[in-house]
Amino acid sequence: MTVSVSLTVNGEAVSADVESRTLLVQMLRENLGLTGTHVGCDTSQCGACVVHVNGDSVKACTLLAVQAEGADIKTIEGVADGDTLHPMQQAFHENHGLQCGFCTPGMIMSALDLVKNNPAPSEKEIREWLEGNLCRCTGYHNIVKSIDAGAAAMRG
């Protein structure tokens, strides 16, 4: 069964006709061409698909697209301010917080939600918050460092 889903993504009103079984992450990738949101597993464990739904970080594989009807979605493509990287993106760059880049969008989206609620997280708080995001390249060291630096930059 096909249903029409309308939502706001990165500030733009969009709609698509999708099968009712379509996940939000599939709609973002396949219907809207926003391939920065990645799929790294099939058990909602890896966090590569984290986006913001109405301001909160959500694994986009845990929602059906129809459940997101009317929602305000932000993906990694909507984080930078034009050509200027968001301070959190810049921090990942400067601190070598990414290698292959596959987990990175989910890490950044997750980090932004952490910092929204806890502007100055400790190392322990960062590590515990990242429990839902897997990275196989970095050993997490520089991701933690990046989030710490990104949070500091956001505090100004």
Partner: protein, 784 residues
């Protein structure tokens, strides 16, 4: 060092596309008219294939083709590219592995059929409707008993489920050395089976163009040309010049994307039959069931010491699980990448190692980050640590009295390696400082006062990297050369494109290689572009694995740059009206010696493309290619020290401190190198404490998802203290050694030695990886 040349910690240029979600991974690509593949996979570990009924599935909506093994009879089976000669002088047994099973399935996940349909959902629905008649057989799962008498036989052509028995060293001489030993340390342990788990699942898109007869394969590959070569020469899918393999952004590899898998072979073949591009992306469950696994050894190891603690001899017997078939490079891993490293950093007098490679009804096992060398380091460093404890010696001191001295290089080991250079004691001393070793006993006492057990563990590893000198590996059975290529192409406006045969899937080549070019040619870093991964663009190259990209690929870049300079010298000499011998090149300028007459390399490039005033007989253009074949392996080495605290009430192990000092020779980009060390340690900690691919007795993978297989998470690992003690390699023009695998090689032994050290106090003498809380708690209970 210039600001962005060799040695500069330049933040990576590739980051921008990844932090903004603009990377182009294979699954992000969609081709016009694209269809989708879903594989029907065996749910049984071992079964005869009595029939596959595709009739109902074939009639379902959107289905464009369903193929089984017999349909692809013209396509050659998957091959192993490294032929081991066994103890009897016979070649190893490598039973054919058809891309789609014929007559029999040999592991859960073995592909039986492929369904190709217009949408992925249609392909999945139809795949579920394919009916397969299996005749279920008992499975062989445990490598330790796979070759036992009376065991079920998996392959007719591999009697006793044995691929090969191989040995190195003089058994009689080693036995004699053990007879005269003052002390013998004996250990038995497993090296746990792991799943590589690159975060990007494997994927491919195959496309055939009828008008030209060209195939294009977009693929998650660490080595696109190796894929093209094998798919052409052995599978016969298309001649090399009609097959283009593109490995775009690849989300991690760790070895698992080296190999030629069934899926890319099937899709490439089928793309011509259905006349449409076909896409397949592994779901994570498929990754667990089909990506080659790593490690999986069962080992008995002994170390003989004299009364002074000097290592006299080592004797090792290993059973290596190959899984159901020999994968692409599987046979080399437990032999030439393992037993040849058993000397470690030590002057051990003699070494004997026997390896039995066995088949089981499990996923094929092949190279995973470190590939053989983590297994070797674990054998050596567990033995040394246990020997220190048994003989009452400080583990650091015991190592130091046995290290190859810094003035003994080049050093021939008893297991055919020649180490070029190193400073093992220097790295140890630096690591002891970094780890705060002198304060350990106080910290241990503090833990004890709090009811906790604290331990410290060392791992003084060595690895053979810079894979590899072609003639040497050829004499050992390799089916390929392991040189690397580079093409330095100046454009008329003075900027440079570097085409490399290496492939970057997280290593930051686009940045590091541009630093090499900028440094060698004196062009601004920003004006160097690095191109990799597309067989239609780059020169033939062997790809990235075995910590080879800097040592081999980087050396090829230097050689190509040297050729550019030599040609530039001729052009400059002509323009400056000087003798070629009087032209010096430095900082991007060709200068007439002793004068201020000079020409920038950008001007030389322009002249080469607009050759109006030009040396007679010299070809126009400034575009040079070099192929570099290394003289030897490189030998990164170092000491890692791990400190753990264990809660005896729960068995949980916490890493309190992890210090690493590595000798990688010259560092091109310390920021990237540190990241490689961190990531390797993370995976090594995962092996030691968390990860285990577990099969039940029926051959079902029971840790086959992220719900069951424990990946290291951010709160499982500590921050790492990383230091360097670089001794430049004299054997390559950059003096580099390779850094990609060190952490994964060193860490398991460092962590497990620390765990053993902590548990010794409560009477636990042996614990296997992964040291999960349950295992640790159980061991404490059993010892009580």
């Amino acid at each position: 060092m210039t600001e962005q040349g060799i040695g500069a910690a330049v933040a990576r240029r590739e980051d921008r596309r990844f932090v903004t979600g603009q990377g182009h991974y294979t699954d992000d690509i969609n081709r016009r008219g694209q269809t989708h593949a879903c594989f029907v996979r065996s749910p049984h570990a071992h079964a005869t294939l009595n029939g596959v009924d595709t009739e109902a599935a074939g009639a379902m909506p959107g289905v464009r083709g369903i193929f089984v093994g017999e349909d692809m009879a013209e396509v050659g089976p998957l091959i192993c590219g490294w032929a081991i000669t066994d103890v009897n002088g016979e070649p190893h047994r490598a039973p054919p592995h058809p891309a789609l099973a014929i007559g029999k399935v040999n592991f859960v996940g073995d592909a039986v059929a492929v369904v190709i349909a217009d949408t992925l959902e249609q392909a999945k629905d139809a795949a579920a409707a394919v009916e397969v008649d299996y005749g279920i057989l008992d499975a062989v799962v445990d490598p330790a008993t796979a070759a036992a008498d009376g065991q079920i036989q998996i392959h007719e052509t591999a009697p006793g489920n044995l691929s090969y028995e191989w040995a190195i060293g003089d058994r009689a001489a080693i036995d004699a050395a053990f007879e005269g030993a003052a002390h013998v340390t004996s250990l038995e342990f497993a090296n746990n089976r792991l799943v590589p788990n690159a975060m990007e699942p494997r994927a491919c898109i195959a496309e055939y163009e009828d008008g030209t007869g060209d195939y294009t394969l977009y693929l998650t590959s660490q080595n696109p040309h190796v894929h093209r070569l094998v798919m052409s020469a052995f599978h016969g899918l298309a001649p090399e010049h009609k097959l283009r393999v593109v490995a775009p952004d690849v989300g991690g590899g760790f070895g698992s994307k080296i190999f030629i898998y069934a899926e890319e072979v099937v899709l490439t073949w089928a793309s011509r039959h259905v006349g449409r591009p076909i896409k397949w992306t592994a779901e994570r469950t498929e990754s667990f069931l089909t990506d080659c696994h790593g490690r999986d050894h069962v080992t008995e190891a002994e170390l003989a010491l004299d009364g002074d603690g000097k290592f006299l001899a080592m004797r090792v017997n290993t059973i290596a699980n190959m899984g159901a078939y020999l994968s692409t490079f599987a046979s080399a891993v437990p032999t030439y990448l393992y037993a040849t490293l058993l000397a470690g950093q030590y002057t051990t007098g003699g070494i004997y190692c026997n390896v039995k490679a066995v088949f089981t009804n499990t996923v094929p096992v092949d190279a995973y980050r470190g590939a053989g060398r983590p297994e070797a380091a674990y054998v050596v460093e567990r033995l040394v640590e246990a020997a220190a404890a048994e003989t009452g010696r400080d583990p650091a001191e015991l190592r130091k009295i046995n290290f190859v001295p810094s003035d003994a290089f080049p050093y021939e080991t008893p297991v055919v390696m020649q180490y070029d250079c190193g400073d093992f004691s220097g790295s140890m001393d630096q690591a002891l400082d970094l780890a705060g070793y002198s304060g350990f006993q106080a910290r241990r006492a503090e833990s004890k006062a709090g009811g906790k057990l604290r331990g410290i563990g060392f791992s003084s590893y060595i690895e053979a990297c810079g894979v590899a000198p072609s003639a040497a590996v050829g004499s050992l059975g390799a089916g390929v050369g392991l040189w690397e290529s580079a093409n330095v192409r100046f454009n008329p406006t003075g900027n440079v494109q570097l085409f490399t045969g290496c492939h970057s899937h997280g290593q930051g080549h686009e940045t590091a290689f541009a630093q090499i070019v900028a440094d060698k040619l004196g062009v601004p870093y920003e004006q160097v572009e690095v191109i990799h991964g597309d067989s239609a663009k780059i020169p033939f190259g062997m790809g990235t694995y075995g910590s080879r990209s800097a040592a081999v690929g980087g050396s090829a870049i230097v050689k190509a740059a040297d050729k550019v300079i030599e040609k530039g010298r001729k052009i400059a000499a002509h323009a400056l009206e000087a003798s070629e011998d009087d032209i010096e090149f430095a900082g991007g300028n060709f200068t007439v010696t002793g004068t201020d007459k000079a020409m920038n390399i950008a001007e030389v490039a322009f002249t080469a493309y607009v050759p109006h005033n030009y040396p007679e007989g010299l070809e126009p253009g400034l575009d040079e290619t070099a192929f570099y074949d290394p003289l030897n392996f490189s030998f990164p080495a170092g000491t890692h020290i791990c400190e753990v605290e264990i809660d005896p009430e729960t068995g949980s192990v916490s890493i309190e401190k992890y210090a690493a000092v590595d000798d990688f020779g010259v560092l091109i980009n310390p920021l990237i190198v540190e990241g490689q060390v961190h990531g390797g340690i993370g995976q090594g900690v995962g092996q030691a404490m968390l990860e285990h691919a577990v099969y039940d007795g029926d051959g079902q993978l029971i840790s086959g998802s992220y719900m069951d297989y424990t990946m290291p998470r951010a709160d499982d690992v500590p921050s790492y203290d990383v230091g360097f003690n670089g001794v430049p390699s004299p054997l390559n023009p950059l003096g580099v050694k390779g850094c990609g695998e060190a952490g994964a090689i060193a860490a398991p032994a460092a962590v497990m030695n620390a765990v053993h050290d902590a548990l010794r106090e409560v009477g636990v003498s042996h614990i296997e990886m992964p040291a999960t809380p349950l295992r640790v708690w159980q061991a404490i209970q059993d010892a009580a």
